[in-house]
Symmetry: C2
Subunit: 246 residues, 2 copies
């Protein structure tokens, strides 16, 4: 009953179309951020909230690792955890994000405790970790394919932040700079694996579903930020409040 699988190029094209239609580069919050139209406190809110995502990524990858029965696959995937947690000669993505957090005037320990993070951001990020724990291995891996779309947004972000914000320099934006080389390496391996294993139409559709789900996870975080701090700018009870400074 099920239909013939799409050729590889067709599946890749469909994955890319999801990015063109749903990736969070299209979100108004990012346009404001990269265009220099956010106030200091709004940038702080973004850095604070996005750190919750950063901090959960290695847990997500460890959950994935714990489901991979093939040592070779685990060896390849392990690199992602090292990229975030660091190791010899590499402070790691989490530490690089904390450098950014301090540069925008946030307290490192408060950021580490995720104080004031929006519930909408927590729920979205936790949904991602849960997805990776519960779904099939191919869906769990495919959900990271949004990295295909990441270099463009990181390039745009680096240029935009450097142009518009005083805190931005090579050191404070090191996180994004580094991801420009890490993400393409990671995603190239994942895409090959997914294309290799998506041998039925059903699996291919599951792959597209996973990529779509992940775009929802990213978009929902920005919706929560936009709602709380841009328009109508009503933060939920208990969330980070903008300082009103001149």
């Amino acid at each position: 009953m099920s239909e013939a699988p799409w050729p590889r190029e067709e599946l890749v094209a469909r994955i890319r179309r999801i990015g063109e239609e749903r990736y969070h580069s299209l979100h108004p919050f990012h346009r404001l951020l990269h265009g220099g139209q956010l106030k200091h406190g709004q940038v702080q809110a973004w850095v604070l909230n996005r750190f919750y995502y950063q901090a959960r990524i290695p847990l997500k990858d460890a959950a994935l690792l714990s489901r991979m029965e093939d040592p070779a696959l685990r060896r390849s995937w392990r690199k992602r955890i090292e990229e975030h947690d660091g190791g010899p000669g590499n402070e790691g993505g989490i530490e690089r994000w904390l450098v950014l957090a301090e540069a925008v005037g946030l307290d490192r320990n408060r950021v580490l405790r995720h104080e004031g993070v929006l519930p909408g951001v927590r729920f979205a990020v936790d949904a991602y970790v849960q997805f990776v724990r519960e779904r099939s291995l191919i869906e769990a891996m495919a959900s990271s394919l949004t990295e295909l779309f990441a270099p463009a947004i990181h390039e745009e972000r680096i240029a935009g932040l450097l142009r518009h914000y005083d805190f931005a320099n090579e050191r404070t934006l090191a996180y994004f700079k580094r991801r420009l080389t890490e993400a393409p390496e990671d995603v190239s391996f994942t895409l090959d694996w997914v294309l290799e294993h998506a041998t039925t139409r059903e699996r291919q559709e599951a792959v597209l579903g996973a990529v779509t789900f992940k775009t929802d996870v990213l978009w929902a975080q920005l919706d929560a930020l936009h709602h709380a701090y841009v328009e109508p700018a009503i933060p939920p009870p208990g969330a980070f409040r903008l300082e009103h400074r001149s």
Copy 2:
């Protein structure tokens, strides 16, 4: 090292204070809804999205049931599943919500498939189900204590909808009417159980954390709705779109 437990009345007062400060009755979306200031499509969006919550409640309660080792406790809790799923002489809360959905012009099957539900709503509701699966039994039970605050909002809602919207009548608002008697019965049992078992300060604080978490779950759903359909009224990709009708 740990402090002495609060007296019962103090714990109850602290639970009630969470309601006064954080319950979603305070959310601007509810004020618009109950004040008759939402357009037809915005009411549809609320009914569609809130159905995702309704539909997940019995799964949440079944997860809780599956963790209760005491048959007497299961017998008491089982009633909640029956209230939503129905039984002899009771169509059940889910069916009553579908009556409301049809009354506002939504297609029953589309609603049942959760088509167009906001990712932010899904993530919040799924976080609730996950909380009940993972946390201690007392936290899982305590998270339902927001029902303490429900009768007031249901009364206000029934009156507001009847006053302002054509679709509102005894039949279409039967869901809320019914909850006016069900919720107090449910919550009275739960509150007694929680007070009985919150014998240490640590457990009492866990109870307060669970109630706070649940207010976040409810609030985040309305934030997602408000953002997508009220202000700035930018629905995320793939979500329900308002029909622009005169």
